[in-house]
Amino acid sequence: MSLPELSREEILRYSRHLLIPEVGLEGQRKLKNSSVLIIGTGGLGSPVSLYLAAAGVGRIGLVDYDVVDSSNLQRQVIHGTSTVGKLKVESARVKLLDLNPDIQVDVYNEPYTSENALRIAKDYDIILDGTDNFPTRYLTNDVAVFLGKPNVYASIYRFDGQVSVFYAKEGPCYRCLFPEPPPPGLVPSCAEGGVLGVLPGTIGTLQATEALKVLLGIGEPLIGKLLLYNALDMSFDFVKLKKNPNCRVCGPHADIKELIDYEEFCGVPSHDHSEEGSAGANWDITAPELAERVKTNHLKLLDVREPHELEISALPDAKNIPLGQLAARLSELNTADEMVVFCKGGTRSARALELLTSAGFKKVKNLKGGINAWAREIDKSLPIY
């Protein structure tokens, strides 16, 4: 296939690339001719899309259905204060085209699902995994395997990052390393556990680097290798990954031949980004309901957040037992008490409720939306975080 020519303006724009022999004019034309699909326009998607746009990748696809929230801006640097409340893909498109008007940006303002993923991904050269949840991560992997495309993978948590290139044609896929996800509840998300804002910057730029290497066909991409980064130790460790002969999607006896129900597979919903954690209608109590109840009834309040979160906001008279310690400290609670459990947004407390009900606590409720809902609807002097 003949590569597109560069205009005079493009030659000037990419002059620092053209000076590198490994890229050069031909490499830059390759980039102009190439396309990448970025799943997620968040912490990882921000630096990835900015650098790939700047590098002159001809067509960039962005999949996200979320809107920009001010709590995103600590790390999602493609968005800004002026785009809070706007669609992430639109916010990102404007920024990318400002950075480089010569490229094409295609946006998919929809959840990435088994129904649309193959259709969306089939016309891109490589797929970049910038997702924040296991169902979409397994979906992204399987789509890449079925379409025979490289999946440039990265994931982050607090101070830790992982990067690899999963390309089943030449090496292992994500499932070769992680055949199945951890049970729900064992691994906290960034929304619950937090993430150092610069971490997706570090990891996302490594991910973008790998994408450029794959597109240009230069260097040694991280195929069959996993990079493990820790910001606190400033450590970069590499391990070797091999194809798993028993892999269910890319092994010789693969039995998964088409996309499956990934939410069922992982036991968690992938497309529920509401901060309103819920334990189900029968177990929830809303902030206004709780405000009414405390006027007439003596209720015990159990706060399952981490101690450092109590410095941000707290409810008076609430007992604090962090979720991770709850199973070991059940003896401090009385099954006879009526108890309302809460956390930041209602997710950890819903999990605490599962534990409590299993242990015989019958009179327990989950504060829907957590202390943030209380701060929003009842006590506006409390900050929302």
């Binding site: 296991f134 994931s155 996800p181 729900p184 998300s189 029968n282 599962e354 299993s358």
Partner: protein
Amino acid sequence: MPVLRIPTPLRAYTDGKSEVAVSGSNISEVLADLTIQYPALKPHLFNEGGDLRPFVNLFVGESNIKDLQGVDTPIKDGEKIMLIPSIAGGMSLRGERLSRRSNLLLSGGRHVTS
């Protein structure tokens, strides 16, 4: 003694320690010592049958023990063992999953079919 590197998500169960000195001459013995030192780690590493969970990856040097001799992989004194976790969350709860998952959580992650 061999040293086992603990990833951030599991440091909650090792008193925040990023590395733990463990005794043993193979992976099996090392993990037994690790879970004696930190019992709360056990359900994160093993299923109810006592087998390593499929999402737990242990590397000796650069190699996955699955590509070596599994839990029988010999360990030398001072050798570094890395525990590599699945990271990426995004978890919410749905009411209909409550009962199914409660057993799991109470057992610390082991599937209980009661």
